[in-house]
Amino acid sequence: MENFDNFDRSLEHHFNNMGEKLIPKQSQSLAYYVDISKSLQSLITFGVKLHKIEKTHPETLDMLTKLRVKEDLRPKLVFLHNELGIKPDQFADIITKCPQYLNPENEIYKTEEIVEYFTSKKFTKEQITDIVLRLPTILCYDVIKIDATLGFLQNFQVSTKQLRFQADQVREMVMRSPSLLTQSPSALHVNGQFLERSFGLRFDEIKRMITTYPRILLLNTEDLELKYMFMIRELDFNNDEVIKFSLIFNASLRLMEHRHGFLKSLGRAQYKTDQVGYLSPIEMFWCNEMEFMTKLGFHNRQPLDNYIKTL
């Protein structure tokens, strides 16, 4: 070493690039690449949960690191804002549930097709935004499959007969539970058969059931069976009342058992409309615990907890 200048020159590159970040060649998380890519930083400012995408959609991680802001990200978010009327606060939920939407291979004309299809079936613009907010995966879904399920819903095939629904009814069913659209027709057929065989309903009763509570076509058949037996044995329901109060199938069995047992211990468990002291089951089983207790006249949850501790 002859000169300090030579020594300094060799270290100049090191000092100028002291803030260099080392990137691994392979990783299962996006955390190493966030410092570098501006697109991921902009996603974080919107509020997208990257740790959830790593668990649920690991096949999209390659695509997300290679995103470009101007060419890939911007036009798709602008499409959501202009065409569908979605606010920037709501982008986060949509992208966490459907990151495939940002894939440059999924071009915009495919989502335009879906929107055109819904408008051709006479869904209003507000209804379409509602569907997209509640079911973001429909942005990457195939139009042909949606057509098949909607067609099956309108002519709902039960063992020997086709139940014909009108267009207004089908639209209302889709608005009340949009996740019907991503189900295959065979899955819906299974639940329809279950309603016919183990509940023992007639065809017009099945029609009424599906219009009052369309989500019954999505629930698990084992849970449905247990809830049905509970309603018939403990709550003393006929088939007519099961259809009338079919919203109760949304609640879990444990919740129904606890609340029904509590009402029984108070002596106020009366679900027949003719009798004195009638309590409608929908008001009892389709609300919070605090609302439930205020309806009965209590201020605390203590009486219900004290009853559950005796089980």
Binding site: F15, N16, M18, G19, D305, K309
Partner: protein
């Protein structure tokens, strides 16, 4: 001022009791409790995201980066000349996206909570279940478990059946009548069993029963055997008898839920008919009972602060119990509670005088 998450996490330790519902396995109970606590912890105020050190040149440094240290470096005449001449760089704090909560996820996960349990309940049984959190819970459970405090159960049975598994879901061995049974006959059978078990306990206590020590120990409840003799039913009482169904309260040592069901079948045999157990429910486990406001429902804990209050309540109860949990040896194992330091050795007057005169 509400609690911050690190404060809450540090104070989540010790014992507390949970009411378990029937037809639930032990692993699902612990999953239920952990998810509720983690939801509560991750909602509280978290630590701020960590910063990263980046080296910037003087021209790129902004007003926000001018901390006290950077100011010192820049204002010194010698160092400022060096920096400007040779284009050297200054260390500054920079936002680190790596540690953002949306990238890393929730700060507290399942691995941060370690559970230890007391005597475990069956799948079909319900009642009070003690749970211990972190290292302190393990130590306290070891201390409380050695003092064999009795557990009381409420057992419901039904005359008229005898099965293989002592429940209604087993294979039926015989069906019998029960019209001849009266409550005095049941009480007689129960007192016979109770007396036999108590005699076995007194014989195995390895103490001279005519001495004063044995009397004081029996009054306190510490006259317990060291060997394992099997399930001991020390106190059996009939509470309700309505037609074929009956309810009894049992206090026992070294028992299991299946042994209680076998007891019910034994009672039926003694009364010349068959009996079957419909329900096993634990009313109290040592200090914890189902009546307390601090025994929490497993599916509805009520927040992290309620769990912390329950652990603190169990501390105070163990310290104030007259059954001597806080021997000198155990006082060191308990975490710092409101105990005055009485163990200091008194100095002799010679040492005091010597230290004063120096």
């Amino acid at each position: 001022m509400s609690i911050t998450a690190p404060q809450a996490y540090r104070s989540l330790k010790g014992l507390f009791a949970v009411y378990k519902l029937p037809n639930q396995s032990h692993t699902s109970l612990i999953d239920q409790v952990t998810t509720q606590i983690l939801i509560g912890l991750n909602r509280l105020e978290q630590r701020p995201p960590k910063c990263m050190v980046a080296f910037k040149k003087l021209s790129n440094v902004t007003n926000e980066d001018f901390t006290w240290r950077v100011n010192q470096i820049v204002k010194d005449s010698t160092s400022s000349a060096l920096i400007s001449e040779n284009n050297l760089s200054i260390p500054t704090n920079v936002v680190d996206w790596f540690d953002h909560p949306l990238v890393q996820g929730p700060r507290y996960t399942k691995e941060d909570l370690v559970w230890y349990t007391g005597h475990a309940l069956d799948y079909e049984a319900s009642g009070v279940q003690i749970l211990g959190l972190q290292n302190d819970g393990e130590k306290m459970l070891g201390i409380v478990g050695k003092k064999k405090l009795g557990r009381t159960y409420e057992v419901k049975g039904r005359f008229g059946l005898a099965t293989t598994t002592y429940t209604q879901e087993g294979k039926v061995l015989e069906r019998t009548t029960w019209n001849h049974i009266k409550p005095q006959q049941i009480n007689k059978a129960l007192s016979l069993i109770q007396g036999a078990h108590r005699n076995a306990l007194y014989r195995a206590a390895e103490m001279d029963l005519s001495s004063n020590e044995a009397y004081t120990a029996a009054c306190k409840g510490t006259l317990k055997p060291r060997k394992f003799l099997g399930p001991l039913f020390l106190n059996i009482k009939l509470i309700e008898f309505s037609a074929p169904e009956f309810v009894i309260h049992i206090t026992c040592l070294d028992e299991s839920c299946q042994s209680l069901r076998a007891l019910v079948a034994n009672i039926g045999k003694r009364l010349y008919s068959g009996a079957v157990c419909t329900k096993v429910r634990r009313i109290s486990d040592g200090i914890f009972s189902w009546d307390d406001e601090h025994t929490l429902l497993s599916h509805k804990l009520g927040g992290v602060e309620r769990v912390i209050e329950a652990t603190r309540d169990s501390y105070s109860r163990l310290l104030n119990d007259p059954r001597d949990f806080t021997s000198k040896r155990n006082r060191k194992r308990f975490p710092a509670a409101d105990i005055p330091n009485k163990d200091r050795r008194e100095k002799s007057p010679l040492l005091i005088a010597a230290s004063e005169n120096l």
